[in-house]
């Protein structure tokens, strides 16, 4: 067993864990943060994407040991009780989700994309979405949602 300390959505957590524990399973099983969805468990589907030290990471492809001392943001951090994040609001308004399984990972990737590039083209958004599998929407409403959120965030 090893000691790890991570900050998740602004709260510090210390745990004794097996070295083989994945970050995705740590978030869900140890911290009960079920917003991070686990799909393929080998880095292909993108559902488990979180921000690790400010950058997107597949939480199924990181040992929690590798994140020791790090800062993690999950989808739970996007909105407060009062209002949805502009990205979430745009997904709601533009039908950017149906079953919602892929949505947390896509929101996290979109958040990073808009931080890096506040005015992305449709092509740039589609290139980013290549790292996320959605089997419901056909992607068009997701692209619309991200374009709309980008416009809102630019003000």
């Amino acid at each position: 067993m090893i000691e790890v300390a991570v900050t998740v959505n602004g709260v510090r957590h210390e745990r004794r864990v097996e070295p083989r524990l994945l970050l995705s399973d740590f978030l869900r099983h140890e911290l009960s943060l079920y917003g991070t969805h686990v799909g393929c468990e080998h880095g292909v589907c993108g559902a488990c994407t979180v921000l690790l030290d400010g950058r997107p990471a597949r939480s199924c492809l990181a040992l929690v040991a590798q994140a020791d001392g790090g800062e993690i943001r999950t989808v739970e951090s996007l909105s407060n009780e009062a209002a949805l994040h502009p990205l979430q609001q745009a997904f709601h308004e533009h039908f950017g989700l149906q079953c919602g399984f892929c949505t947390p990972g896509i929101l996290i990737s979109a958040l990073f994309l808009l931080e890096q590039n506040p005015d992305p083209t449709e092509t740039e958004i589609r290139a980013e979405l290549a790292g996320h599998l959605c089997r419901c929407t056909g992607y068009a409403p997701i692209v619309d949602s991200i374009l709309a959120a980008a416009a809102t965030l630019r003000g």
Binding site: I2, E18, P19, R20, L21, L22, D25, E41, H42, G43, G46, T49, L52, R55, P56, A57, R58, C60, L61, A62, L63, A65, Q66, D68, S109, F112, L113, A127, E128, A130, G131
Partner: protein, 239 residues
């Protein structure tokens, strides 16, 4: 819990890491984990110990030295892609390596050492005539890739940095994959007169100007790969 159990070490220097690798039979270095962790999750790899290189600060960084771009083995692919120092050829190639989330974690050295025959960075290293500096020697790219997932590194030898010489003449990177971010069917890198091809055999190869005789796979039979390789090589030669 997906991976089989292993002992875990997080050294803070190259010397310490090399000593741990020598001491523990069947220990594997862990770089960004974007290829190794999927193999652990599938239990295709069951190392007795992992030596996590993430705590070795001296292994990451980008600098220009004596006309060469020198990239630390643990430099994240995303950092090289967005570095003003990066060669245009490397930047173009990196855009094809997985996705943003995997490039933010995946390392330049990890990709080279993993030696996937379809991977972009080994093809660039070969085209550029890069030199791979290890914990004990310098290995030219031509002698580094031995077979599928197999390099000239000894089990207790670490890749420390990669020296990419500045290209003389035109450069180009071309790739065909089934979907953006997938493994390449064929990819081609050109630096001046050197053109390297990936995806056609167990290692990337330097093109001698002749016919390519690829090894087919489940999703791309040999004849299809031959046609794709020919088309990409023509485009690279005309660049």
């Amino acid at each position: 819990m997906k991976p089989a159990p292993f002992e875990y070490f997080r050294p803070t220097s190259v010397e310490e890491a090399v000593a741990l690798l020598a001491e523990h039979e069947d220990a594997k270095p862990l770089a960004g984990g974007q290829s190794l962790v999927p193999m652990l999750n599938f239990r295709l790899a069951r190392p007795a110990a992992l030596v996590d290189l993430g705590g070795i600060d001296e292994l990451a960084g980008i600098r220009v030295d004596d006309g060469a771009l020198v990239v630390g083995a643990m430099t994240r692919q995303w950092d090289l892609e967005h570095s003003p120092e990066a060669l245009p050829l490397l930047r173009e190639a990196l855009a094809h390596v997985g996705h943003t989330a995997t490039r933010c974690r995946g390392t330049v050295g990890g990709s080279l050492v993993h030696a996937d025959p379809t991977a972009e960075l080994p093809v660039c290293a070969l085209a550029l005539g890069a030199e791979l500096v290890t914990s004990r020697r310098r290995i030219p790219a031509e002698e580094f890739f031995l077979s599928v997932f197999t390099t000239a590194l000894d089990p207790d030898e670490l890749l420390v940095e990669i020296r990419f010489p500045t290209p003389v003449g035109p450069t180009a990177f071309l790739e065909h994959s089934h979907r953006h971010g997938d493994f390449a069917v064929v990819c081609v890198a050109r630096s001046g007169e050197r053109i390297a091809v990936g995806g056609v055999g167990p290692t990337p190869v330097l093109w001698d100007g002749g016919a390519i005789d690829p090894v087919g796979d489940l999703f791309a039979p040999a004849g299809y790969k031959r046609d794709v390789a020919r088309a990409l090589l023509e485009q690279a030669a005309a660049a």
